[in-house]
Amino acid sequence: MATILVIDDSTSLRQVVSIALKGAGYSVIEACDGKDALSKLDGTKINLIISDVNMPNMDGITFLKEARKLPTYKFTPVIMLTTEAGEEKKTEGQAAGARAWVVKPFKPEQMLSAVSKLVAP
């Protein structure tokens, strides 16, 4: 079973995403910001990371750069969540190697289809 790490400072967003992903057969780990998420990267196999960009403590792009330094997570696919307005953040994220973007607000099924393009349950 594929495991997905969901990082967002909004609890309700994490919940909705988790419910959708679990319903589709994925296993989900949640984290509330970049720092929290880094602490969960303890060698556990993670097949996909979904991360918000703007978060307190550590933002999504810094997190991504840190995660890529760990051998286990060097090639883990990442979906970044962004808002329409976050264009310059997107450029920064692209430079850090993020290619998959989902624009907020999104519907659960949009997230599911994005996820299933990258990993099967």
């Binding site: 090639f75 883990t76 696919p77 290619r99 299933s116 393009k117 990258l118 990993v119």
Partner: protein, 713 residues
Amino acid sequence: MNLDEALDTFVAEAEELLGNMEDALLGMKRGSAAEDAIHAIFRAAHTIKGSAGLFGLDFVVGFTHTAESVLDLVRAGELEMDAAMVELMLEVCDHLGSLISLVRQGDLPDADLQGSASLLTARLQNYLEKNNPPSLPEVEAAGVVSDCWHISLRFGQDVLRYGMDPFSFIRYLGKMGRIVGMHTLTDGIPRLSAMDPESCHLGFEIRFESAADKETIESVFDFVKEDCRIVILAPHSMIEKYRILIEELPEDDMLLGEILVKCGSLTQNELDAALRIQASAPIGEVLVGQGMVRAPVVEAALEKQKQGRDAKAGEVSLIRVDSSKLDRLIDLVGELIIVGSSASLFAQRSGVAELLEITSSMSRMVEEVRDTALSLRMVQIGATFNRFQRVVHDVSRELGKDIRLEIGGAETELDKVVVEKIADPLTHLVRNSMDHGIEPEAARIASGKPACGTLKLNAYHDSGSIVIEVSDDGGGLNREKILKKAIEKGIVAADANLADQEICQLIFEAGFSTADKVSNLSGRGVGMDVVRRNIQDLRGSIELDSVEGQGTTTRIRLPLTLSIIDGCQVAVGKSSYVIPLDMVIECIEFEGGQDEAGQSGYLNLRGEVLPYLRLREYFEVDEAAQKRQNVVVVQYAGRRAGLVVDSLLGELQTVIKPLGRMFGGVKGIGGFTILGSGEVALILDVQRLLQQAEEREQKNSGRNLTIMEESRS
């Protein structure tokens, strides 16, 4: 609200739009946001042109049209709105302002204003010509047999490093349809010792069966679209597109071609055709075959040679003549004909043999002069048709539909004046067909048609007329919808019993619009009723054939020339009438008694039913009928009818003089001419008369009239 009030509204609206246009232009001059300003400017010109067309303000339409075309190119990003153009557009804006104030006063532009209009138009035209790319040579335009999508993927080398697995996308694609055939390209993969194992070297050719649309299929690869070369070809795509695919991909052409055949996306024949097109230049083939030069180099060189040759040939054989000089010549020839027939008449009366001989040979010469003069003004319709390549190209891109244009009968000749006047209605019909006729790609595929729509322009001569056809292979007209709309709009009565054919023609009625929503395109220009009016002003007619699900053909029938015709002169009482000779089939003696009541009826023509119309009653000629009467059998657009007249006076050449405005409403008369004797003869508008004959008969008999179709054997 009446038309005058509506015109006031138009003036007010136009003034407001011109104000916006000026503001936007001045804003651009100061360097404010260009995108919105360009849209505002275009919108102003576009709206003014559209409304002016509805009011028949041709001088406004004509002038605005060129400006709009230039702005259209700016909007599409094909022209740049530089400082010079801003200045020009400001002048355009001012000129439009003057035109609109003329409209307010109910005046027409004077010579001065016309002069400045043509200067401005010429300057605008400059931009258009600069931007008109040379038309592409015709390529083999057949679609491939395969009814599947073809997807060609070359993943960028960093894809794997971003954590993305090419196969995950292919698996996802598999959820959207069926992967019928797939070839994994291994050629790009180096040997292990030379390989960077984290770089991606994979490519795929996929034959994919799915009901999804192109956008949906594209979205599968959203996350890799920046790092990946993706080509998606719709089912039944042109072989040309496969040729481009083969050419543009890095692999060896032959190898890639074989892969496409293996996937089933191309048949061997189609591959051969594609490779043949590729190597079409004969000298080039040899050179490339010998490995001396690369194909594109040769093609470019040959193309250049050809252009040079064409230009040279053109210089030698053509001179440019101001068309107003030609018009003057035709006018003079017209006068010459009238004077000539006068002379013949008096020669006959005088009975002097030598004079008769001279006048008859003079008539022959005059006839030749007439034909030659007219032929000077005859141009092939091909050039007009070819202009539509661009229109079709642009519009299909705008609509997101894949539509190609087929041209037939390009060498068919017709009067230059007619060609000029037909361009606008034709543009409207073409746009209409593309917008409303041809369905979106998904719908076409669903109904088993090739993804690429076809629009056909065709022209041919038919009994003294030229017929121009605009046909599409789209969805055809929905008769129920049309009828419903027509009843809604009060164009026909709710209980009207109409034949299919008649329902189709309803779209030409004033106030009828088929579009549910006003799209960018259908909003452009004029309505179908205006198209019909334009055609009728040219003494032509328009009709429409449509098979639901298979397409629509609009047929415009026009006289070959507008000014001089061969006619058959007839008399009713003391009045003379002229029937265009092209439309006369035969003349027979009328056997029905004069005492028979009514204007019209049927007669038996060698076993066929022929509706007839008595001109005496129709034109309310008071004198009593002669004992013997004749029937002139006329034919127009496949329909026949008889016109009952007193006597037949023979053939003659006539110059058509238009009737004054006062007589514009007289039905059945197309113009008048001055006979050699100085008398006036009326020229019959056979098309209207035929219509009237049918209508009356329908009313009289209270049943549908079966129109005699000409049997084409």
